[in-house]
């Protein structure tokens, strides 16, 4: 257990109800400083609601929150100078130029004028906006907008940064650049809480929490989470994968079978000895297939934790 001062966020029994819907349901969370902490979950799993409660924008129905040693929501106003928040939707002003946007944010963060001008120039350069300072923010591409929004959220060098699905509408290259920036910030001592529904992004986090329908279903470092599934993942290579899949879903203990090209990725439950049963089933059905153990991935972690196939992860909430 790290020392108290090392904890950036501590939440216990965090719950938020909207009418009859429990959007967030009893989430316990501890985020240590200087980490990139990931929130992984499908749309509607309570990621945004949790983040909004943690930065004091929503009042929890119940539960306790302490962020940077401040009690939330009571001391939310005090917290605001120490955090940066990047909303899911682009929330800078489309009809202001890049420089005007950043200058405005510097001013509302109480930065003295001279210092603000300097900081804005610095950020424009650091975030590759040289020569575009007088362009309207509304004319930027998706990836550029997110970069600008990130620059805006760190203008006052916050200790803690909340990023709500910052890369959900961004091309892969921009996503890579964006994550480079996040690690630079983390190296400089910023704690970052970032939500995502991309598995590859989740793998890059120091620690992550998996949310499903408002509940926290797993948390730990990516290695811990995948390590817990050791021996429960198989790869099946078959000439006719769809036929093989029909056999697989009948086998007791098989949680999911996802086709990847010509092979199938199989996740089994904790009962063990799953491989033998799968091979037996193929033999009984007269299907020729090669079954081999494979290293578990975060996708498997997600499926195991939520009991739902991973391709639903990116689907809209029902």
């Amino acid at each position: 257990m790290p020392a108290k001062s090392d904890i950036a966020i501590h939440a216990r029994g965090l719950t938020k109800c909207f009418g009859a819907l429990r959007a967030v349901d009893g989430v316990d969370l501890t985020v240590t400083r200087r980490q990139v902490y990931g929130f992984l979950g499908p749309n509607g799993s309570g990621k945004s609601t949790s983040i909004r409660m943690l930065c004091g924008l929503l009042t929890p129905t119940s539960g306790e929150i302490e962020v940077l040693g401040l009690r939330i929501p009571e001391q939310a106003e005090e917290l605001r100078q120490h955090i940066g928040y990047m909303t899911q939707q682009f929330s800078l002003f489309a009809d202001l130029t890049l420089r005007e946007n950043l200058e405005f944010l510097a001013a509302v963060q109480n930065m003295p004028r001279r210092q603000a001008v300097q900081r804005v120039d610095e950020l424009l350069q650091e975030y590759h906006f040289e020569g575009r300072a007088d362009q309207l923010a509304g004319t930027l591409s998706g990836g550029q907008r997110q970069r600008l929004a990130l620059a805006g959220s760190v203008i006052h060098k916050p200790e803690l940064l909340f990023l709500d699905e910052p890369t959900s509408a961004v091309d892969p290259e921009s996503r890579r650049d964006f994550w480079e920036k996040l690690f630079e910030l983390a190296d400089a001592g910023t704690t970052i809480l970032v939500s995502s529904h991309y598995m590859d992004e989740a793998e890059r986090c120091h620690r992550l929490a998996i949310l499903d329908r408002g509940r926290l279903v797993a948390d730990g470092s990516p290695a811990e989470l995948t390590g817990a599934l050791q021996g429960r993942t198989l790869e099946v290579r078959a000439e006719r994968p769809r036929q093989a899949k029909r056999v697989l879903v009948q086998v007791p203990g098989v949680l999911s079978a996802a086709q990847i090209g010509n092979s199938l990725r199989v996740l089994c439950d904790e009962s063990g000895d799953c491989g033998a049963r799968v091979e037996q089933a193929f033999a009984d059905a007269g299907v020729s297939a090669v079954v081999e153990p494979i290293a578990p991935s975060l996708e498997d972690v997600f499926v195991a934790a939520t009991n739902q196939p991973v391709d639903q992860l990116n689907a809209e909430p029902s």
Binding site: Q81, T87, A107
Partner: protein
Amino acid sequence: MNWRRLWAVVIKELRQLRRDHITLAMIVGIPVMQLMLFGYAINLNLRHLPAAIADQALTSGSRQLVMDMLATGVIEPVASARSPQQLMEMLRRGEISVGVVIPQDFEQRLATGEEAVQVLVDGSDTVVQSAAKQLAQVPLTYMPAEPRQSSVPLPPARISVVSFYNPQRVSAINIVPGLIGIILTMTMVMFTSVAIVRERERGNMELLIATPVSSAELMLGKVLPYGIIGLIQTSLILLLGMLLFEVPIRGSVWDVYWSAILLIFANLSMGLLISTRAQSQFQAMQMTFFFFLPSILLSGFMFPFDGMPAPAQWLAEILPLTHFLRLIRGIMLRGADFGELWREWLALLVFIVVMMTLAIARFRKRLD
């Protein structure tokens, strides 16, 4: 209150406004358009009603009466007729709004005090009806008495006609001061209520409330630029009113501006209150009209305040426009000074304080 943050919000708002060409056009367009509409088109001082006169008497007295009626400018002959039947047909076809029948025995009827002239009116338009009824009343009430008084009947009639036709003299001079109030009420409430709701719709608000900027800074910063716009509009209407309609400012110009500033902030605080309630820009517009309609109908701009039933008057006393109209008419037309009208500006001040407090209290730096 942090001045740096407040100023940042003001500058941001002005920069956005500079790029919003539609709003900029409305700032100037609404006052100019309304002024033209009310000043020229909506002339409650009815003139040039299409008319036809069937003079069956054809005496010098009847001709003199016709000339006199035409001289008022209320009616304008567009056709000639010989009989009442012809006039009725023309009325039905909508060719004329007023028909005048002078019977053959006109002089005789005058002498005996009988109804000497008949005025036929197109009653489908109530405004025309009431105007023409007044026209009809003049010769009927005046003429019977006249032969006994004088042998030269008509010159005095012309004088009495003028004062009779327009007892209230509703004209541009009367309308322009009120119009300042109408335009400020419409644009100020609308601009502020929409400006804040728009930020909420576009997601800017979520970013803003996660920063240290306070509710009061945010609200005042949004309101101040629109206050300046309101003063520009006021100046525009005053200037056009003076140039086009020769509207006088009998009191002090400063008093006019003080009144305008009070009304502007009363309406801005109303707009802010609406914005804390409205979920979408459309709702903000709806609520703006919910406030604007009673303002225009009950404030005394359209109908005389004293003629309204008591409950309507109580309601009108709550509306800032009612008090502003009393202020501005007093200052501009009667030459009253600000001090004499203390009740009115005090009422406006109270309205501002109450609405602004409610708005800031209702505005939560929260999403729920």
